[in-house]
Amino acid sequence: MLRFRDAFAISPFIGASAGAVRDCRHTCRAALFVAAGVFVGSTALAAVTGSGHDSVFTILVRWAPLLLWGFLFNLVISVLSMAVGTAAGVPLGIMQLSPLRPLAWVAGLVIQFFRNAPWLVLLFMCVMLLPFEFHVFGVRVPFPDWVKSVIGFALPAMANVAEIVRGAVQSVPTGQWESSESLGFTRGQAMMQIILPQCIKRMLPPWMNLYSLIAMSTVNASVVGVNEMLTLTSQVHAAEGSRPELLAPLYSFALVCFFLYAYPIGKWTERLERKYQVKD
């Protein structure tokens, strides 16, 4: 059996919480404690040291709606990236397994290229190189930075989804291919009706892991000026006079938001992995 998760278990959130402590409940509590601790501790510290200004609580309450709006934008970008990446990655992964050598070779090349490229570089290239608008049949279609960044994240997502598909297809016992072939199924029919349906369960956990990573990496879009949570956090910090004691509470707020989003996904993934421990 293949354990895809091993390949993706590098998320700081999932990795750190899953690694050290065996017992799942202890891990959960410890991780929550650390995340909440940084947030509360730094908030309290800022409240004590920042005399003469608005208290840090007031500031957080004031800006929370904006920051959460930014966080929502991160989530929208992550969902769209994953959707585009999956839509492109599944066919690409199937192409890689094609008996037509040139087709498999081209697909493999594309996959390897985007899998081994730093995500931030891909993001930069997409944002810098893609036009800011298109003209389709005389209609001007704007192409804002956030859409370009969706493509920037979708490219590595696509390559990784393709690899997940390849791994899942190859983990189906060869007997399934043999019996479909002997019943007269063409390769395509066997793939669509017999092999791929069996792969969905196997693909789900690594796919969710990948999604977590993409969601976490959407903050990279701040580097190219997309108004997502990290960009807004730094703007809020500037608007509040760039006081150093506000750094920790503001950025911890972002951390906690991402943690609360990604941690349950990680937990759910683990549950699914246990449930789908493939028994053929």
Binding site: G175, Q176, E178, S179, S182, L183, G184, F185, Q198, D280
Partner: protein
Amino acid sequence: MTTDPAPRAGLGETIVSLRDVTKSFGLLTVLNGISLDVARGETICIVGPSGSGKSTLIRCINALVPIDRGSIKVEGIEVNDPKLNKLALRRKVGIVFQSYNLFPHKTALQNIMMAPITVLKQDRAEVEARAHALLKKVRLAGKEDAYPGELSGGQQQRVAIARSLAMQPDIMLFDEVTAALDPETKKEVLFTIQGLAREGMTCLVVTHEMAFAREVSNHVYFTEGGVIVEHATPAAFFGHPQDPRTREFLSQIL
């Protein structure tokens, strides 16, 4: 080494004919000049030690394994032909595997119905009626909606037989279909194959079940090292084995 198939009387015309079939996997020669004929309605058993090429031999017949040299004719279709119409061949030849290979995401009934509907584009209602009849035939009526994971090994194997029969083949290949089963469930499966043979289905059976070979087959082939060492009627094969290698094999297995 080539063994000429013995002439046989009282059975139909030759339906499967192998001539000097050779197959190597890398440096390992698995089949080294196999020739045999099977008449319509006949049941032959292929026995021999593990690694003697029995499974490869049977897989060559429906082109799951391409051969290097020689000729395999199935109802007039030359299998060793680059322009082989694989679908035409596979409509005539059904195969059942040791590991069942049922589709785990489909129910027993769906497993049986899939190929006729997808591959042969047959009418769904007609296929469904046939699938019900086949399940009854393999004595699994009532298990229509069971998934393979919910069935015992013997039950899965009988669904696999029904699945192959749904394509209405003229020839059935059985590749050590009882090797993974316990003695009780083995019986059910062997009984099913025996029933098919009695009905006049042409069966090629690779097996270690000597009692089955003795009772059901018209002809027994003993293979070792990629050649047919001996072939005879079951009475002669088990009563008076000629080749010393056959005698040694039988003395070890019986």
